[in-house]
Assembly symmetry: C2
DNA sequence: CGACGTCGAGAGCAGCGCTCCGGATTGCGA
DNA sequence: TCGCAATCCGGAGCGCTGCTCTCGACGTCG
């Protein structure tokens, strides 16, 4: 048996057992992904996952601590998926404004293709469930792509700090919080531009969420034109 | 018995039975509100509601068709509550900018006090649950308060249509959708200002949701300063 | 006063998350 | 190579959920 495995090139050091375990784990994740996509976070049933991969429910607990942990794993996976989509969109090039719109559109597109996952990431947090810190690293990829855009433009001198006299002042506490963001990126970006970026991201998020959560029903639906217009407006407001 | 009721001024036409029914219904709603506030939408259990009012679960079905209907009733109630809060804030007077910030702050405050209700209204829609049209009337009260502000300012001639040459054009389809909004209010408001209002509301919603849904964790928390700054920024951007 | 309609209680079904236990299988070291 | 120990899977079971059905009791109205 072991000889056969070695013959097939399966490293004995890797451990056939670990391989099997990894495979089952992958099956669980895949089934969980399917269940999540079809029935949503609330409908994600560990028993259904077990059924789908031909296991009894208690066996799944050997791999996953519980429903919440499976949900967390899927959240991280989804954060990375939408983050990667945003980064790909940004990397496609073009003017800064075009890249910003591309990022926003990519997030929207991903959300339309994975509404349940989007809801899991950006909708109301599942009650009784506190997102562990593991997720925040993956969760910042989308806004990071936007901020990075501003950083690049600012570094290239193509972005000027808005000096509107009626702009609200930035207090010390708020400035310190902006510093946290700046520190995270290890780059220079004035408070005003950090806040401009936050405002842009929150508006994009608000627009996409309104569409996906059905708040635009009976008014701006289909929302393609609205999104295109608003994304462009935000981009021009940012000054890129 | 009936005589006694009549003596106490209880109209016989109203029916003692109907009175009792209304009272039980009120108890169900109150218990549902408590459960919702404490355990969230997912934790809202019809059995727990029944238990709380000293009934067996099946009896509750005489009053409510099911869990979804109870949720819908609570949604409408909550929409009206936050809508009323926004309208009160707007009615407190002040400059247009002050009133706008007051509306946004009122919504934020309401959300902080009723996080589960806010999530139910503006978070991911409960899977498998389609919001009936009953809710949309109540659901538009908050954005309506904001749009109404713009309408008043525009009617008073204190608001000019932004004519930035780099502003994205408004296509025919989008303009028609803006017309729907205009028609709803029965007032005059250029497309550009409608879209400006939509943008303002989506950004305010995005900001509040980010705070309440924990997306600002480890960065802009506490978020009071950020909110104050961003709300003011949005107000000044709208031109009020 | 009687019949009808309403109401609450109870039992029951299927599903859920999760735990515990027993038997089978696997892998590693003696 | 053999045996022990770790690992793993299946089954049973607990308490919870939403929802349905039936039955007895009661109020309401003709």
């Amino acid at each position: 048996m072991i000889a056969g495995m070695v013959e097939r090139g399966e490293s004995r050091r890797a451990g056939a057992r670990e391989r099997a375990r990894a495979e089952v784990m992958a099956q669980i994740m895949a089934a969980g992904r399917r269940e999540l996509a079809e029935h949503g976070a609330d409908g994600l049933s560990l028993r259904a996952v077990a059924r789908e991969i031909g296991m009894v429910s208690s066996a799944v607990y050997r791999y996953v601590a519980g429903r919440d942990e499976l949900l967390t794993l899927l959240i991280i996976e989804s954060y990375d998926a939408v983050g990667a989509a945003a980064e790909r969109a940004s990397a496609r090039g073009g003017s800064a404004a075009e890249r910003f719109v591309a990022i926003a559109s990519a997030v929207r597109e991903w959300g339309r293709e994975h509404p349940h996952e989007y809801a899991l990431l950006y909708g109301s947090p599942v009650p009784g469930y506190r997102a562990p810190d593991d997720t925040i690293a993956s969760g910042t990829r989308v806004p990071a792509a936007m901020i990075r855009l501003l950083i690049e433009e600012y570094a290239a001198g193509r972005l000027s700090v808005p000096v509107a006299e009626d702009a609200p002042p930035v207090g010390a506490a708020l400035s310190a919080q902006c510093g946290t963001v700046r520190e995270f990126f290890g780059a220079d970006l004035p408070d005003e531009l950090v806040l401009l970026g936050i405002g842009a991201w929150t508006q994009v998020y608000g627009l996409i969420s309104f569409e996906l959560f059905g708040q635009l029903h009976n008014t701006f639906e289909p929302a393609d034109d609205l999104m295109e217009h608003q994304f462009a407006t935000v981009a021009s407001r940012v000054g890129i």
